[in-house]
Amino acid sequence: MNKSDLIEALAKQADLPIRKSEEIVNLVFDTMSKALIAGDRIEIRGFGSFMVKTYQGYVGRNPKTGEKIEVTEKRLPFFKTGKELKEKVDGEE
């Protein structure tokens, strides 16, 4: 399923015009992205949570040439599946 499929499915389920459904789906993921960009957590009961982990920079080496490389600090978002979803995904074949 991709975003267009989701927009269509939501329009049907919630009895909304496609345009409105599109606006909502975009807003939901935009809001979630902004929270992660701000370094905030996202917690959705029964679904899962998102958090941003920060990795410190370090000096690495190119294993081939031995050349020193500065690896800068980076931040990466992670998702942890919620209990209910975890159990349901594992429960059905």
Binding site: M1, N2, K3, L6, A9, L10, Q13, A14, L16, K20, E23, I24, V25, N26, L27, V28, F29, D30, T31, M32, S33, K34, A35, L36, I37, A38, D40, R41, I42, E43, I44, R45, G46, F47, G48, F50, V52, K74, R75, L76, P77, F78, F79, T81, L85, K86, K88, V89, D90, E92
Partner: protein, 100 residues
């Protein structure tokens, strides 16, 4: 700070002109659609945000890390999520690309 389902519903109510109750119901429906697809074993990809994938794990021998006791971990299915390159970039530069 933590973003919750209620916060997302409020945002929808405020920006798209819904009553709070309606907005909450819409968010529930949206999440239910994603959940149902994942439970059915289907991947869900949201461009610019990320992709949920259902992975099948084989059964394997494991150990209870506390007692060292060996045990068999059953085959199972798990959900994983991978950020989109666009989100990764935004999280690192601190700016969002709006309007898609």
């Amino acid at each position: 700070m933590t973003l919750t389902k209620a916060d997302i519903a409020k945002k929808i109510a405020d920006d798209c002109g819904f009553m709070k109750g309606e907005a909450t119901e819409i968010v529930e429906k949206l999440l239910d659609i994603i959940k149902a697809r994942l439970i059915a074993g289907e991947d869900v990809m949201i461009s610019g945000f990320g992709k949920w994938t259902v992975k099948a794990k084989h059964s394997r021998r494991g150990r209870n890390p506390q007692t060292g006791e060996e045990l068999i971990l059953d085959a199972r299915r798990v959900v994983t999520w991978k950020y989109s390159p666009v989100l990764k970039k935004s999280v690192n530069t601190g700016s969002s690309e709006s309007g898609q």
